[in-house]
């Protein structure tokens, strides 16, 4: 299957999620992969309108049957638009797949993860975004052996299509890993009253464990944490080895983003909090008392 994998990178290297997208693509029979690295190809105006036009041109001119990317906000924005330019055959957030004869069956969550649907896409080219947390990433070294698509050779003209203009990105510098890339994620909920408290307690415990700090929607809405920390149905999806939920009630929308973590630990003052029903270990207690003790022990 002639496949184009759209990859993203941070300052230094290809993102872990993109390595999972490659893993998905490689697992398909007769996989024939090209990659398109977003940062290398798209320069001056990184908006969906122009990027999608390039991807659509690649699909049309190089006859790709399949376009794959990790389900990031970039892919949700750009790859979905490219799919719209190429006939609208798209499945998002795929978590597993298999074949029934030569029919590709794709599993994807619906209703905030309460339901898994098995779907098929009837027409080619197909566009698929996969949940990074559901596919083990390939080794980074594999990427160098993959052919990267030469976009110079494409005939792309979107000059008569009105495009949005990129102005700025307010990216918060952090010494911690992204929640989607860490083996341990410590997340805080409404229990935390301020950014300082969150930093000291959630951030402090994350640092002690070498992990990432995440949060529920409640703290993002309150302006206590930035949007890119939000875990959940409409935020980031994580499945680390250990997920520690501190003062998070466990609303379905939050669970949708973390319930596939290997080990889930919850600390909450309310013994009936729904988070305990998806946790492996629970402690009834006040995070303002429990967390300082944990940090002290880890540093001691």
């Amino acid at each position: 299957m002639k496949t184009l994998v759209i990859t993203e990178s941070d300052e230094s290297d290809i993102r872990l999620g993109s390595l999972s997208a490659i893993a998905f693509a490689q697992s398909l029979p007769e996989a024939q992969l090209d990659t398109l690295c977003v940062a290398d190809v798209f320069g001056e105006n990184p908006t969906a309108d122009s990027h999608a036009a390039v991807i659509a041109a690649a699909v049309n001119q190089k006859s790709y049957e399949l376009v794959v990317a990790a389900a990031t906000t970039y892919a949700k924005d750009v790859v979905a638009r490219a799919a719209g330019l190429c006939g609208g055959s798209m499945a998002s957030d795929v978590i597993s797949h298999r074949f029934d004869g030569d029919q590709l069956l794709l599993d994807r969550p619906m209703f905030a993860g309460a339901v898994t649907a098995t779907v098929t896409l009837s027409s080619i080219p197909r566009f698929i975004t996969v949940r990074a947390s559901a596919y083990n990433p390939v080794e980074r070294s594999i990427v160098d052996n993959l052919n990267s698509l030469d976009t110079e050779s494409l005939d792309v003209d979107y000059s008569d299509v009105p495009c949005a203009h990129w102005k700025s990105l307010a990216s918060r510098a952090s010494h911690r890993p992204d929640v989607t890339e860490a083996k341990i994620v410590v997340s805080g909920g409404r229990a935390f009253k301020s950014t300082e408290d969150f930093e000291r307690l959630v951030g402090g415990l994350a640092d002690g464990l070498g992990g990432a700090a995440g949060s529920s929607r409640a703290l993002v809405d309150a302006g206590i944490t930035p949007n890119d920390l939000q875990v959940g149905q409409t935020g980031k999806i994580v499945a680390p080895d250990i997920y520690i939920a501190l003062g998070i009630s466990g609303a379905v929308q939050h669970l949708a983003g973390m319930k596939n973590s290997k080990t889930i630990i919850a600390v909450n003052t309310d013994p009936d909090a729904p988070i305990f029903s998806v946790a492996d270990f629970g402690l009834v207690g006040d995070v303002y008392e429990v967390v300082p003790q944990l940090i002290a022990e880890l540093n001691g």
């Binding site: 309108d49 979905a80 649907a117």
Partner: protein, 247 residues
Amino acid sequence: MKILVTCKRVPDTDQKIHVKEDGGGIDDSNLAYVLNPFDAIAVEEALRIREEYQTNDEIQIVAVGVGVADYESELRTALAMGADRAILVESTAIMDPWTVANTIAAVVARESPDLVLMGKQAVDDDANQTGQFLAALLQWPQATFASNIRFGGLGLQVARETDQGIEEIEVPLPAVVTADLRLNEPRYASLPSILKARKKEIEIIAHADLQVDADPKLEVLSMKSEISQRSCVMLDNVNSLIEIIRP
């Protein structure tokens, strides 16, 4: 100026969703339905734009739904919140985001709005595709996951929520903008406006009359419920917790 706002009818997220025994779909016998929360945010934003920017040039807000006759109740929610008109493209057919986007594109051709505001995703299928498909079909610029919208520059200044932080883009009109959670907090309609909305006429268009040529590309074959298999060990002190998390 005209703003088109799309409205989907979805099961209320506060109830448990069960799959039918044969896996053929969700059990909808006792479900309560609401306007998709992200669409409610889109409606609210249209209202705020009208409140803030309306001058002599009137701003008209048109709510559009694509689906079964029951969609009327969610369109009435939009009317009660303050939309001027509502259109239901009625169909009992199974649709995917592609069919819906093509249908809305046909409505756009009839209504010629300057802006289409949509929710970034519907909380039933969680697809997050329809807005992007529509923008592609119309060849309009798109601004997805908006957390702030202002008029200015070439058209709109939009702040977008991305995995890396908040991105600012400038979007010429006409455009498709999809709403994220933090764009606003939707108002509740007052009782008088709910009563008034009940009397308003909803324009019904039979889906066949739009002559949309777009069969669904995504077929749902089966569904299954996801139930947590975990049982929680309750710890009685902080020390036992340390033993578990210590690297």
